[in-house]
Symmetry: C2
Subunit: 250 residues, 2 copies
């Protein structure tokens, strides 16, 4: 019995979808919420984190307009956050990968300002915001970390505003590739070979481009030998060149 139980635990550590994981043993603790917390504080955080079953592709973690209750940490898989304009067009406001926190746009109005949809089978940790507030009142580290998280989202959104208002199609696509590559590196995955979990349409709706333009830019990059792309699998062949393009030099 004991042996079986131990085996189960060991399996947990290897299966990122498994719910029987906690913040202390989660391999994302170095980049996720626990980042700024002491060991005993992480234990307290752990007690309020709810880990549900994995979400299938296209399922939502929350939807635009829903009453805000929780923020969510991505444990495995990936999400897009998007809102729908008056004319029914979709604006993707961000992509979320493991260790990243989504749903913070709901705090201000007590309802989510965007929807979060799984781009593939994904697992999330739900963290009720009322508990975060309560915990933040007691743990200055927690409060500070959350202020920082919110502020960083602002900074990222403002960078994206700049991207949308100043950059060409090629610069936008290059920036996204560099960004995903860097986030993979942070999770100790290959920064040069990865699978894009989102569709061309999602990319377009994120970058302010049409699906056709995204496709054309990928083709052009491939023709120039900067990347290899086969459907959703990308290899970045010339990182410096892409960075050069993304940094809008010239």
């Amino acid at each position: 019995m004991i042996a079986t139980s131990e085996k189960t635990v060991r399996e947990d550590k290897h299966c990122p979808h498994n719910a029987a994981i906690n913040c202390t043993n989660c391999r994302l603790s170095g980049i996720c919420l626990p980042l700024a917390l002491e060991q005993d504080e992480i234990v307290q955080l752990d007690e309020i984190v709810q880990r549900g079953r994995p979400l299938q592709k296209r399922q939502h973690a929350y939807r635009e307009g829903d009453t805000f209750t929780s923020v969510f940490a991505v444990r495995s898989g990936s999400f897009k956050a998007y809102s729908v304009t008056d004319t029914g067009e979709e604006q993707v406001t961000g992509f979320y990968f493991p260790g990243e926190i989504m749903g913070m746009d709901g705090i201000g109005q007590n309802r989510y300002a965007s929807s979060a949809q799984a781009l593939e089978t994904s697992a999330i940790c739900e963290i009720p915001f009322s508990r975060i507030q309560e915990l933040s009142g007691r743990l200055p580290n927690m409060q500070g970390h959350f202020f920082r998280l919110l502020s960083q989202e602002i900074v990222e959104d403002q960078r994206h505003m700049t991207l949308l208002s100043k950059n060409t199609a090629e610069q936008r696509v290059a920036s996204l590739l560099i960004s995903i590559s860097a986030r993979n590196a942070r999770r100790k995955l290959s920064p040069n070979r990865f699978r894009l979990p989102m569709s061309r349409g999602d990319i377009g709706h994120f970058l302010g481009l049409t699906i056709e333009t995204v496709s054309r830019v990928f083709s052009r990059f491939a023709k120039q030998g900067l990347i290899e792309i086969e459907n959703k699998d990308v290899s970045i062949l010339d990182v410096p060149a892409l960075q050069h393009i993304a940094a809008q030099e010239d």
Copy 2:
């Protein structure tokens, strides 16, 4: 002596640039930080707020890259927040009017991600962030209000992302006019007649348009009888029509 002092106090109430005002008697208390606080909590906030001399046009409240210490409430006048791209172009990330809080983009990295420049003679309240954190630890209202403020900035930035990625030049300009009009209304100023404190260039750098396009759209709106515009003085003649355009209906 006493009479003189009383006279001074009375003048304070009428001159928005004057520093001898506190959060309790400030006529912006209904829309500024005190919004969510109890009377005795406002007194505590008041103790940490620093009120300096007015800033002249073109002076900065803080600069991109400066070490982050404080957030700022605009007391009078107006500001633009902007950052400079690698290629030296300016991206205006927001305009700030009395009662609004700026500088929150500095929390995450401990340095300001943008610069805040006065568009006219303006007064600000400086609020050291360390004191806000300390106060937030003690006053749940304060913590909650700050979480909300940060979140609302995220939501606004995401709306602006949508504007930049989906809307035409006319929709962008109409949106800005409607936004300024609404913020004026909140401060009990005329929503139909006001002076634009920022230049055409600032507007362009905010809306992702060139100065020429901004100018052309203003001219077109005037020709259509939607607005009257003479230099920086605008009269909105047909609010519904502008709202209609801004809402990207057709």
